[in-house]
Structures are given as C-alpha cells and as structure tokens.
C-alpha cells in the first residue's frame, strides 16, 4: 500500500497528490456523524462569536428586569409573588426568544446548505445538528435567566427534584421550538427576513399566561391564551417550581400541565421537523 508519505516531494507532483493521497471514503456518514459534525461547527461558531452569546444573554436579562421591576408592580398575580410567577415563564420560553432562525438563514445565504446538500449525507441530519446546537445555546439563555432570577428575588418552593424536572422541561420545550425556528429560517430566504419572521412568534409568547394571568385578558381572548402551547409549557414549569400548594391558584394540577406541555412539544417537533426536512430537501 503506498500512501502520500511514501513519496518524496520531488516524486510527488502537485498534480497527482490529491487523487493519490486521499481515498474515497468507503461509506457515507450516518445520521449521528452528520448531526454531531454540524452541531460542533455551529457551537464553535457561537462560542467564537461572543456577540451572539452576549446579545442572547442581554436580551434575556433585559426582558427579565423590565418585567420584574417596571410592569411587575402593576400585574396582579394573587398570592404568588410576581417574580415567582415570571421567572419560570421566562425560562420556559427562552427558546422562542433566541431567534435561531437567523443562523439557519445565514447558512442558507452563505451557500453552506448547497454544499451540504451535495454531500453523501442523510439530509435531515443537518437539521438535527442545528437543533442540537441551538438547544445548547438556548440552554445558556435559560441558565442566565434563572441565575439573574435568583438575584432579583426568585425562590423555588417545589423542591429540588421538581425544579430539576422543570429545568429539563425548559430544555425540551426549547428543543421543540428550534424546529419552528429552523423552518422559519429555511423559508425566510435571508437573515434579515428571518429576523423579521422571528418576531412573528411574539403573539404566541405574549398572548399566553407567561407574563400576565390569563384572567386579566378580555373574555374573547382568554380561550386562545389558555389553550395555546406556551401557556401549557409555562404552566408546567410554574407548577413544578412553585410546588403543590399553588396548583389551585394555577387552575389545574401539575400533571395536567406537564402532560399537555409534553403533547404540545411533540406536536411542534413533528410538524415543524417534517416541514423543515421537506423544505431542506427542496431548497
């Protein structure tokens, strides 16, 4: 077997070394190799672009402080302190604020997806890698929210196990929302458009029980706010964090919220995952 190392430089002509030294891979990469390769690249991109991490953190903190100290005083949340009402909600929706659509649109615009689609990879695995990386970034946002939350008076009453379960749910919700963001990024066509489309999820966040009790909304809006995915997710995290005695205040039992939130996550993941994969195949 001759390899590149067998040839002295004079014998190794520039012309023939590529075909002589690189063998065609025996088999194409699998789902995991593809997803993890793209995820590692994307996480490196985040980590080496401090602006991304900082903007992400600053946005989370800004919203937290504004609601905690500006609007919070005017919002009636009964026996639950507003800070304890707010922080679980912010943690639950931090994935919706992260704007993962922009990164997807950038990779689309740069021509990276054309290259990836010309490679012998399982195509949907690229999106899986993106979802993994974006979930990691969102988790960073969630952690910051929780830390700053503790600094401004947030306290857990439901016990450590429940709190960890709540944190796990936050990661799960954010993972399912990454598929919505990936889909938006793929259909937007440009990073700027993706930025705009990311705002389209704002009604979903605000017309929910995340920032204010649904009962304070007009009657016609309440059923919408009550029955949409963000409210289910926020309710689940809140119920776990605040503990059993707040169940009555929240209107439903902890398990009612958790089951609904898991179902919603699954629906979002399946619907937008398959839409995104379809779109990616036909870019």
């Amino acid at each position: 077997m001759s390899t590149a190392l067998d040839h002295t430089p004079e014998h190794r002509s520039r012309a023939t070394s590529i075909s002589a030294s690189i063998h065609q891979p025996a088999s194409p990469p699998g789902v995991w190799a593809t997803a993890s390769t793209y995820a590692v690249r994307t996480i490196r991109q985040f980590v080496r672009t401090p602006q991304l991490l900082v903007v992400n953190a600053v946005t989370s903190i800004m919203f937290l402080l504004i609601f905690r100290f500006v609007f919070g005083g005017a919002i009636q949340t009964g026996e639950v302190e507003y800070v304890n009402f707010l922080i679980p909600a912010l943690a639950a929706v931090s994935g919706l604020f992260a704007g993962g659509a922009v990164g997807v649109a950038e990779d689309l615009e740069s021509g990276l997806y054309d290259r990836l689609r010309s490679l012998p990879i399982p195509r949907p695995a690229v999106l899986l890698g993106r979802s993994m990386a974006d979930t990691a970034l969102n988790t960073w946002g969630t952690v910051i929210t929780v830390i700053v939350g503790f600094m401004v008076g947030f306290r857990v009453n439901g016990g450590l196990v429940a709190a960890l379960a709540a944190f796990g749910l936050c990661i799960l919700f954010s993972a399912s929302f990454t598929w919505l963001m990936i889909f938006l990024g793929l259909v937007s066509g440009s990073a700027q458009a993706a930025q705009g489309m990311s705002f389209s999820v704002f009604p979903l966040i605000f017309v929910s029980s995340a920032y204010v009790p649904v009962e304070s909304m007009p009657g016609w809006l309440q059923p919408i706010a009550e029955n949409q995915p963000v409210s289910a997710m926020v309710g689940a995290v809140r119920a776990l964090v605040l503990g059993g005695d707040t169940e009555a205040l929240l209107g439903h039992s902890t398990s009612w919220f958790v089951v609904r939130s898991l179902l919603w996550s699954a629906v979002i993941l399946v619907v937008f995952g398959s839409l995104a994969a379809r779109r990616f195949a036909r870019l």
């Binding site: 001759s2 590149a4 067998d6 040839h7 002295t8 014998h11 190794r12 002509s13 520039r14 012309a15 023939t16 070394s17 590529i18 075909s19 002589a20 030294s21 690189i22 063998h23 065609q24 891979p25 025996a26 088999s27 194409p28 990469p29 190799a33 593809t34 390769t37 793209y38 590692v40 690249r41 490196r44 991109q45 080496r48 672009t49 615009e109 740069s110 021509g111 990276l112 054309d114 290259r115 990836l116 689609r117 010309s118 490679l119 012998p120 990879i121 036909r282 870019l283």
Partner: protein, 330 residues
C-alpha cells in the same frame, strides 16, 4: 535508488482516456413559474477534460450545475453523472462529486483546517482520515501556513481557494465549479486559475461555469455556450473564437483631424472597412492575424508620424461572441 516508482508526472497522466462521458444531459428542462431556466438542454462533458459552460447571467448555468449536483430535480429529460442516473440515484451521484458554489461557503469563525475537516467528515471520512485529507488539500491549495487561523482573517482569494479545497477533501471524480472567480479582482482571479489548473491536472473531471470568455479560454478544453437554457455552440476555445469573431485593432488618435489618415492606414489590414467613432477619436477594424496586423499598423503610423493616445489589439468580447453566434446581443 528509491524502491518507489515515481508517479506519472505528465499532465493528464492520471486521466481516464476512455473517451467516455462524465456528464450527459439530454433534453433537460427546469422551469420556475414562467421562467424556463433549462429549456431542453443537451450537453455532454467528455471524461478527462475540463468543460466550461459559458453564458450570460440568467442563461441557466447555475440551474444546470445545481441539477448535476443533485440540488434540484429537473422537470424532464435525463441526466447522467459519471455513468450514474442522477435523477433515479442522486445519493450515488453525491458520493462522486465535489461542489464549489458561487459564494465561498466557508465559516469565518472556524479555522481553514476546521472547515476542511468538517466537510471531509461529511464526505464520510473518519476523524483521522478527515484530518489527513484536510492536510493534503491544505498543501495543495497553498494554505498550510494559514491553516490554523480563523477564516475571517483570510482575503477573498484565500476564502475561494479554501472553498475549492473543501470540494476536494472527498477525492471526487467530478468537480463542479460554479463561477469560481466571480467577484474577484484580476490578480486574485489569475491566482485561482493557477490553483484550479494544478488541481485538475490530477485526474478529476471538471465542469465549470463562467461568464468570462477569457476564463473558459484559460481553463477549459471543451466549451459549451448556453443561452436561455439551451446550448447554442460547443467546441474548443479556439474553434469558438474563430467562429465567434476576429481580433480587433483599435486606435485612438490625439487630434480628431488625423482620423481620416488612420482610416487609410487601417483599411488594407482589415477584413472590412474601419469603423470610425469621431467623438471618441477612435477607429477600429477586425483583422485576421491580430499581432501581425497590429505590428504593421504601429509601423505605418510611426512612419507617418501620427500622434496617438492609444493603440491595441483586443479579443472579441463575450457580447461580440453572442452577437455572432445568436445574431442578438446577450
């Protein structure tokens, strides 16, 4: 006394001389709404050659490359790449092609090496093979020294070279280059041509698209001119240029009064009467043997002591090629 026989060094030595076809498209069609990007394209790229697809913006060049790269599915027609039916088995085509698109699709936050290793992994190399392939390519494209710097510090030309390298880490049989030098300054363009030339000598078949006649001339053995999604001419660069129009001797005089005298000098050298542009003080005439005609013109003008601002020989432009081949400006 080396026990290892030297590798064949002759240009094209490793190329398959089978006379087969690397790419064969028959009646290829693709439309977007009312726009027929490919309108029954019949195109062959012979094995062992560099084929250039030449045409203006919107001619269908990129659509064709995307079809070959299995990024889009043609509406009708047949397409074979390295003998594989690209419409029935795009997955197999992806194992033998390498694509470098119009943009340098490299990640600025990663180093050159990390970019190449990533693509090598996605070709199917395991971790150590990917690293080895990246190193070979880095040496080839002359980026070894900058390999561990982030790409955001690279010049435009270095990014394009890296992008070209990324298409090579899987040792593809067919290399697809979509307008590889668009947007580069002339010097960087020439450097990139050098890289492409030295890479393609190694035995990879190449299909490249370009808007520049000169680029096709520099790199390709076989040129296909397309417009409106159809092939309008094929041949070697020399054949096409001789069909497409003659060299032109162009003179600009210092004083407008001298234009008549210049016309008199140029008339016997050209294949037709000189074209005079009085406001620009310019005279131009198509000639058969460009350099001879230019030398002769310079000699006579020197004897007659006519003051010039400029004199030169120019090749027919792509516009003129189109004018001749299609009877309409591109």
């Amino acid at each position: 006394m080396s026990p290892i026989p030297p590798l064949p060094d002759a240009p094209g030595g490793a190329r398959a001389a089978t006379g087969g076809l690397t790419i064969e498209a028959v009646g290829l069609r693709k439309h977007y709404g009312d726009v027929h990007a490919l309108a029954g394209l019949d195109l062959v790229a012979p094995a062992g050659k560099v084929t250039a697809v030449l045409g203006p913006n919107g001619a269908g060049k990129t659509t064709f490359v995307k079809a070959v790269a299995t990024l889009l599915r043609p509406d009708a027609g047949s397409l074979h790449v390295a003998g594989i039916d690209a419409i029935a088995r795009p997955d197999l085509v992806r194992r033998v092609i390498g694509l470098a698109g119009q943009n340098a699709a490299v990640e600025p936050a990663l180093t050159g090496r990390e970019n190449l290793v990533m693509v090598a992994r996605l070709f199917g190399h395991d971790s150590s093979a990917a690293r080895a392939a990246a190193q070979v390519v880095l040496d080839e494209i002359g980026l070894s020294e900058d390999a561990d710097r982030p790409v955001k510090g690279y010049s435009g030309g270095m990014r394009r070279r890296l992008d070209l390298g990324a298409s090579l880490v899987g040792a593809p049989k067919v290399l697809l280059l979509d307008e590889p030098t668009t947007g580069l300054d002339p010097r960087t363009r020439i450097e990139l041509w050098e890289s492409i030339r030295s890479l393609v000598r190694g035995g990879t078949d190449v299909l490249l698209t370009t808007q520049y006649l000169e680029e096709a001339d520099q790199l390709a053995d076989h040129v296909v001119i397309i417009d409106h999604g159809r092939v309008i001419a094929t041949g070697t660069p020399t054949e096409l240029k001789s069909r497409a129009g003659l060299d032109v001797v162009e003179v600009r005089v210092r004083h407008a009064d001298d234009l008549a005298a210049i016309a008199e000098v140029l008339a016997p050298l050209g294949t037709e009467a000189p074209h005079l542009d009085e406001p620009a003080r310019r005279a131009a005439v198509p000639v058969l043997e460009g350099t001879k005609a230019l030398t002769e013109a310079v000699r006579i003008i020197g004897e007659r002591d006519i003051e010039l601002d400029d004199i030169g020989l120019r090749r027919p432009t792509l516009d003129e090629v189109f004018l001749t081949l299609t009877g309409a400006p591109s």
